[in-house]
Each structure stands twice: as structure tokens, then as C-alpha cells.
Amino acid sequence: MSIQSSNDNDEKIQSALMAVLSSFWHEFKANRGALYGLIFISILAFVAIFADLVAPYSPIEQYRDFLKLPPIWVDGGNWDFLLGTDALGRDQLSRIIHGSRYSFYIGFIVIFFCLTIGIFLGLVAAFNKGYVDTFIMRAMDIILAFPSLLMALALVAILGPSLENAMIAIAVVYIPHFVRLTRAQALSELGKDYVSSSKTMGASSTRLMFINVLPNCMAPLIVQATMSFSSAILDAAALGFLGMGAQPPTPEWGTMLADSRQYITSDPWLMGIPGLFILVTVLSINLVGDGLRDALDPKMKSNK
């Protein structure tokens, strides 16, 4: 009898979950831009995962007979190199394809650090009003007082220029936003009845933090994470462009742009193509972020 009812319950929960998901998808789909963004990101993710199979050449192989070949739609293009070659004769298309891996790598690592550290500090601050809260929030104020790119540059100067250090620096700069957001959300949840009743039932503060409060804070955090994903790609590219991110011959898009800077007037497509890919990728992620915001949280709806 009791087994029967718990099965019933499971089914109920499952169908409720399905209803939530399908209404979420319905909302998300209604936003045309978000859908296009999602399609582009999916294709790019596929290309990134199977880069070794999709890319026609190795990203670092130099074809010395084909230097600075223009892309196929420009006079002098060669069908063997669809997007042309760079100053060292490396196939641009293969470099772009392999470079997409770095963009996802950067985005995921940065938001992983931001979410774990940011949520932890935010919850700790919200649950420990007083000295702990003040200390954490003042520390975040201090990080926020420095313009993010400047702070990241200084951090990379300390750690040494590399893609990994650039990612750490970017994560440090973004964490305060996650801490503030988590704290604000958690504080507004803490006053609600379900938290007080959990507390009366004797729930430990760890349980309150992670099992009760956190799931209800997730919607804005997911939106913030999506937006940070795209900003991280932009900032990593900017650091790469300044020579403080990924180092040559890594086919990271910002580094590719920096390499092509001396040819901007003679061979503009060398910098045009990687830049365009950064733009479209970041734009797609931002479109998805907009769609998520509208679908997840009607309160934050951007008045579409």
C-alpha cells in the first residue's frame, strides 16, 4: 500500500517536473533570438568536441607554399583553404575550429569557479550576519573597486602570462557579482515561511543553506552564469590580444587576432575572421541568456 502511494508520488513529481520543463521550453522557444543563439552554440559545441575530425588540417601545421592566402570568396582564394591561411601558412579554418575549444574551456572553467566559490561565500555571508558577512562583502567591494580588465591584467602579471592564469584572473574578477547575487537572493528567501518551518524541524544550517535555500536562488544565478560565460570569452580574448592570455601557437581567437594585427591593412581578413567568430559566439550566448532570463524568472523579464 505504502509502496503504491510512493510510486504515485514519484509519478506526480515526475509529471510536475515535465510540466515545468515543457512550459520553460515553450517560453524559451517563443524568443526567436534565443533559439537561433542556441542553434549556433550547439553547432559550435559539436565542432569543438569533434575538432580533430572536423578540421581539415592541424591547427599548427605550416604550409610554407601558401602564406596569407585570402578566404575562398576573395580573388586568389584556394579551395584547399576555405578561410585562407595566416602569415605562417597555417589553415585559418582549422585554427578557428580548434580555437572554439578554448572558448568553451574558458567559459566553463570561469563559471565553475564563479559558481562554486561565489555561491559558497554568498551563502556563508547571508547565514552569518555580523562580522563574517561584513568581512566577505567588504572584500568583494575591494575587488569591484578595480576595473575588471585592469585587475585581471595585474593578476596575470603576477601569475605569469598563460591561458590558465588568465582564466583564474577572470574568475577572481567575476566572483564578487556571484557573491552579491547569492547573498541577496538567500536573504530574501530566509524570511520566508518554509525556511522557518525547516528551522523549527531542526534542520542544520548546512542543510538549510544547500538543500532548502540554494535551489530557490538558482534562477538568477543561471542567468548570471550565462552572461559571465560570454564576458569571460571576451575578456580572455582581450588578455590574449594584449599578450597576457594564451600564448602562440595556441589557436585561441584573441591570440590569433593579436598575431594578425600587423597585417590589418594589407590582409584584413586575417583579423576579420577570428573577430567575427568571437562576436557571433558571444552574441549567441547573450541571446540564450536573454531567453533564459525571460523563461526562468518572470520578475526579471526584459519587457519583451
Binding site: 533570438g33 567588504r138 572584500a139 567591494d141 575591494i142 575587488i143 569591484l144 573597486a145 578595480f146 576595473p147 575588471s148 580588465l149 585592469l150 591584467l153 595585474a154 593578476l155 602579471a157 603576477i158 605569469g160 560570454s230 571576451l234 580574448a237 582581450a238 590580444f241 594584449l242 584573441g254 587576432l257 594585427r261 590589418i264 591593412t265 584584413p268 583579423m271 576579420g272 573577430g275 568571437i278 562576436l279 558571444v282 552574441l283 547573450n286 541571446l287 536573454d290 526584459s302 519587457n303
Partner: protein, 337 residues
């Protein structure tokens, strides 16, 4: 009100101490020996090394170095550049007008275009204008700024030859440095062509730096306008038969101003950060380029002093915005958070 301001100021003191501590620790974590950097490639004898170490106070324990630094800082002394041997504070104020000129110009560009565009989009909600503006602004928001700057250079300086590639003014003009703002100084000098040269140098960096704020202002103005335009007092104003212009500008826009001012205040940090890339690409002799060059040259005294000055500027602007709120909206003052 005074109590509110004092409260805000009190919060600022630990933040300021934190900023100086952060900058100080940063510099001491950077690998490489500052004395060797100063000595350059010729190297330095052990006696001279010890002498320099002592002269810069680098032989003291760290906490002593920090306290000495704070003591000097309170007297307006941020040390001397390892490379140029000039006081950091002097260099900062020499380059500061260039950054202010560029940032203000970018801010004005963004406000003048972004706010009206946002208002029109909100009024003509759902129209082609609205949709294109939202698409364009999201594109601007997603733009890698250094790439955008290079595109502008290729198009307007390279292909069309309309604007100069870099610098603040053509080298053929010499005039007295009165304010440090070249637009004003060149105007005062009365030399034919000088003002025009200064303006033409300013155009591309302004567009490059102003694009992201422009996109942000357009989006925020639109959503703030849509929010106020749904409220009852707007319906009343319409029902009273006021002209659509009066309703939009005098009633709706005035009430949408608070969120818009917030966003403008927040852009100050963005502009200072953006100045790093813009100034580097356009060889604009301002604070951003100075900081990047100093990081690459390992000029620690400059990096340390520059970080403190810039961060102090950001928290001062934030404080001003906070106080402005308190003035505009008594509810914020009362809450006293």
C-alpha cells in the same frame, strides 16, 4: 542627510585600506627583482644593489614597508617611477586629462545617442525600429572592443583615409598646455587647424570606447521607459489630453531617470577598464596605456600607485551616486543600509 553621508564615508575607509593593501601585496607578489629592473641590462654591482635596496626601503620588513607607504600616501606621495624617475602622482595627473577627455567624450556619445534611441524604441514598442535597435544593441554589447577598434581603423583610417590612426593631435601643432584637455587647449591656441586635428583624433577612440555604454544605455532606457509607461499616472496624463511628447518626455522619462542614472554611474568603471584597450590600440597617451606599459615594463611603483588612484576614483564615483540617490529618493536614505 548628513548622517547618511557620514555613514557612507565610514564604510569607505576600510575599503580604501583594503585597496591599498591589495595593491601593495600584488606588487610584492610579482616575480622579478625591482632593483634589477631599474638597473636594466647593464646590471648593477653588489654595493650599488644594497644601496638602491636601502634607498627604496626594500630592505625593510614588509609590514614596515606598507606602513611607510601609507604614511607617504597620506602626504600625497606615491613614490617614484622606476623607469622615468618621475613622481607617480605627477605622471598620473599629467596623463589623467587625456583619459578624462576620451572617457567624457565616449560617455556623451553614448548618452546622446543611447537615451533618445531607447525612448523611441519604448514608444514604438514592437516596431521595426525597436527590433533593429535591440538587435544592434545586443550586438554592440557582445562586440570584442579591440576588434571593433581595429575595424574602425581599417575602414575609416585605412580605406577611406578620413581620420588619423593614432595619437591625440598631429605633431605639427605646438601650444601651451593650459588645461591638459587638448580640445580646449587647441581651441585657446587659436592656431588654424589645431582644433580640427584634435577633434579628428578623438572620433574613432570615442566610438570604440562608447559603443558598449551606448548599447547598455539604449537597452536600459527602453526597459525603464516601458516600466514607467505602464503605470497609472501615465494613463492619467494621457486621459487629461496631454500631447504624446509631454507624456513621454516630461512624465515618463523623468520617472525613468533613476535606473538610467544608476547605469550611467556603473559605466564609469567600465569606461576606465575599456580605456586600457582603447588607449593601447589608438596609442592614446592616457592612464590606461600608462598602466599597461608599466605592467609590461615591470614598473612596480607606477602599477601600485596607479591601481590605488584608479580604484579610489571608482569608489568615489560610487559614493557620489549613492549620495545622489539619497538626495533624490528619501526612501533610500531612511533605510540606511
Amino acid at each position: 542627510m548628513l548622517r547618511f553621508i557620514l555613514q557612507r564615508l565610514a564604510v569607505l575607509i576600510p575599503t580604501f585600506i583594503g585597496i591599498t593593501l591589495t595593491a601593495f601585496i600584488f606588487i610584492h607578489l610579482i616575480p622579478g627583482d625591482p632593483i634589477e629592473v631599474m638597473a636594466g641590462e647593464r646590471g648593477v654591482s653588489p654595493e650599488k644593489y644594497a644601496e638602491l635596496l636601502h634607498a627604496f626601503g626594500l630592505d625593510q620588513p614588509l609590514w614596515k614597508q606598507y606602513l611607510d607607504y601609507i604614511w607617504q600616501l597620506l602626504h600625497g606621495d606615491l613614490g617614484k617611477s622606476f623607469v622615468t624617475k618621475q613622481p607617480v602622482i605627477e605622471e598620473f595627473f599629467k596623463l589623467f586629462p587625456a583619459t578624462i577627455e576620451l572617457s567624457l567624450s565616449a560617455l556623451i556619445f553614448a548618452i546622446v545617442l543611447g537615451i533618445p534611441a531607447g525612448i523611441i524604441a519604448a514608444v514604438k514598442r514592437g516596431s521595426i525600429f525597436d527590433h533593429s535597435l535591440m538587435t544592434l544593441s545586443l550586438t554592440g554589447f557582445s562586440m570584442p572592443m579591440f576588434w571593433w577598434a581595429l575595424l574602425l581603423i581599417v575602414t575609416f583610417s585605412g580605406t577611406l583615409g578620413w581620420t588619423p590612426v593614432s595619437g591625440r593631435i598631429s605633431v605639427m601643432y605646438f601650444f601651451d598646455n593650459v588645461t591638459g584637455f587638448l580640445l580646449i587647449d587647441s581651441w585657446l591656441s587659436g592656431q588654424p587647424g589645431a582644433f580640427k586635428s584634435a577633434v579628428s583624433h578623438l572620433i574613432l577612440p570615442t566610438i570604440a570606447l562608447g559603443t558598449i555604454p551606448l548599447a547598455t544605455f539604449a537597452r536600459q532606457t527602453r526597459s525603464a521607459m516601458l516600466e514607467t509607461m505602464g503605470e497609472d499616472f501615465i494613463k492619467t496624463a494621457r486621459a487629461k489630453g496631454l500631447s504624446p511628447f509631454r507624456v513621454t518626455v516630461l512624465h515618463a522619462f523623468r520617472n525613468a531617470l533613476i535606473p538610467i542614472i544608476t547605469v550611467i554611474g556603473l559605466q564609469v568603471g567600465v569606461l576606465l577598464g575599456g580605456a586600457i584597450l582603447t588607449e593601447t590600440i589608438f596609442s592614446w597617451p592616457g592612464i590606461g596605456k600608462w598602466m599597461v606599459d608599466s605592467i609590461f615594463r615591470r614598473d612596480y611603483a607606477v602599477v601600485q600607485g596607479g591601481l590605488i588612484l584608479i580604484a579610489t576614483m571608482v569608489i568615489t564615483v560610487n559614493l557620489t551616486v549613492d549620495i545622489l540617490y539619497g538626495l533624490i529618493d528619501p526612501r533610500i536614505r531612511k533605510k540606511g543600509h
